[in-house]
Symmetry: C2
């Protein structure tokens, strides 16, 4: 059942039927109702491919996922972000298209998405310092929103980010207030923008209290269980071990916990831990009582909001770049306590 057939059954022209269905004003209300009823009765759904060609819009948003090397976006955080963004797209009749490409072809992927007209815009994930993708998308002319920010980029662009610096600053201050002075940072890879900001927050808080950051207590690696475990273990073996840990993610946190337990240290009593909690659906930080004290910010909400921002930009004739900074909340769990006196 297509438009032409539906129209002929109704004794109307395709023009009128199309307009009736799309809510244009120049059609009689009685006619519109007749058309709507017939469309429902015959289970008519306009062909997306035809709409796309006729309107010149793809009605789809792209997400490029580079794979196959050191840093992979394919992680639990990404899954939750996608879920949030996907909800927004569905509500607005947009498709979400994921392009999984070898990471040396990421740039080509964006260009191709644009020139072949597969999408109306993209969301840029995991921005790095001086991220080249921003300039690229700028001159390709593909609307985009960055999840995060890219330090060093001068071009104006739209982004949605969590205030990572402030979150880690507050967490550090909280530990300092508890009497901790040897606070370790188990950070993500520090070419990632958010990791840089987190470190800044941590360093700022320490220096504000007159404590010189100790490079031996600052690790930077992928946010996996293994990496968290390794970093924590190495630090615990040092002569002067830290009394508190600031950890980049729930998953790294599990690794840190493993190292602590292996060392016979009890979290919350012998040693304190604060993690950053993306509030992942499959990785909840406890329920009533959080396992870890944490800086929390739902990445799923971020996905929802970033998608809304992008759709808004696409719908606007001459859009101005939009920015939005979300604050993480500091939630109390069982993993922190006063620094034990030696």
């Amino acid at each position: 059942m297509n438009l032409k057939e539906l129209a002929s059954r109704l004794g109307l022209s395709p023009t009128t039927v199309s307009r009736a269905l799309n809510g244009y004003p120049e059609v009689n209300e009685a006619t519109r109702e007749r058309v709507m009823a017939a469309a429902k009765r015959h289970n008519y759904h306009p062909n997306t491919r035809a709409i796309r060609l006729a309107t010149g819009r793809a009605m789809a948003i792209g997400h490029v996922i580079p794979v196959a090397t050191r840093h992979e976006i394919v992680n639990p955080v990404f899954a939750d972000f996608i879920a949030g963004a996907g909800e927004t797209y569905s509500r607005n009749d947009y498709d979400m298209v994921l392009s999984v490409v070898p990471d040396d072809q990421e740039e080509a992927a964006y260009r191709s998405l644009k020139s072949k007209g597969n999408v109306d815009g993209v969301i840029v994930h995991a921005p790095k310092m001086d991220d080249p993708r921003i300039a690229l998308l700028h001159d390709v002319g593909l609307p985009f929103v960055v999840h995060g920010r890219a330090t060093g980029t001068t071009l104006p662009y739209s982004w949605l980010d969590v205030n990572n610096r402030r979150a880690f600053q507050r967490a550090t201050e909280f530990l300092l207030d508890l009497g901790h002075t040897r606070i370790a940072l188990v950070n993500g890879l520090e070419f990632m923008d958010f990791a840089i900001r987190r470190r800044t927050g941590y360093v700022d808080a320490l220096t504000a209290r007159g404590i010189a950051p100790d490079p031996a207590l600052m690790a930077s690696d992928e946010m996996t269980e293994i990496a968290g475990y390794r970093a924590a273990r190495a630090m615990l073996l040092r002569a002067h071990r830290p009394t508190a840990f600031l950890v980049a993610s729930m998953i790294s946190g599990m690794g840190v916990r493993r190292a602590l337990e292996e060392a016979g240290l009890q979290m919350g009593r012998d040693i304190s831990v604060i993690i950053h909690d993306d509030d992942l659906s499959y990785m909840k930080n406890g329920d009533a009582v959080p396992i870890f004290t944490a800086t929390r910010s739902s990445v799923r909400d971020a996905g929802r909001l970033a998608a809304e921002m992008l759709l808004d930009i696409i719908a606007t004739p001459n859009p101005v770049p939009q920015q939005r900074l979300l604050e993480a909340e500091l939630i109390m769990g069982q993993s922190t306590g006063p620094c034990p006196r030696p």
Copy 2:
């Protein structure tokens, strides 16, 4: 730059240019090269939307992701599957479209995908017992491949699955051989087909050795850290605690480990644990030496293979249902050992 313009620049008809670019035989080789060169020079990429309308094919595969209730597909396992499938799609110039929908609208989502012509086929995730989606897709006429199987369904359909029953049977036998008799099962939700099969494997292995399965040692819940922790803790508090655990996933396994450590039990010495390891990129089970002894099967490979199967089915005129059963390997880690004599 579109086909018509490119053609006129070349002094050729669009027909010939189209054929030259698509490798049809009825065009002079010299002409073809001239066309190819011009296409490259002018950076011509055919408009996907037009190709789709003209050919009647969507060149896209759909994945429907239901959200917002108890069981959510949005999990790390799903992310890895998607990554695998996405690689296959990219290689074959297909788009991957994800539909995130409230789970009471899942059926409508499939129907809409079909009637609006957004995709050429779909992959069905997380099949349940007597899964209604199989009959639905059958009569809607949308090609599909199921990741897993659906016990109770009589219709023929294509699927790709891991031999979950055998994997858990082997794992159980392995523990029995080590002298364990009180073996606990921390399973996924048992309306999920794979969870049913795993339980069957476990029960079969026990009964084959004359051991009656103890309902108190069989838990079934979501595969999260929390759920794993709760199930294990409850069992450890019983008078006759288990000496070994069989756990449904890496994440549940972390929860079980937390419970064990809380109870002061050392994995591999006081108590044995075997998990199922989907070999997730961000949830590696150790590296050189696995943390957990495990039944391992890469869900990413599964994604790759399932996608290949689907593309093959779509390309075949009168396809017959395809099946493929992957075997999990049993890998030795540090979490198992002989049953300690009391």
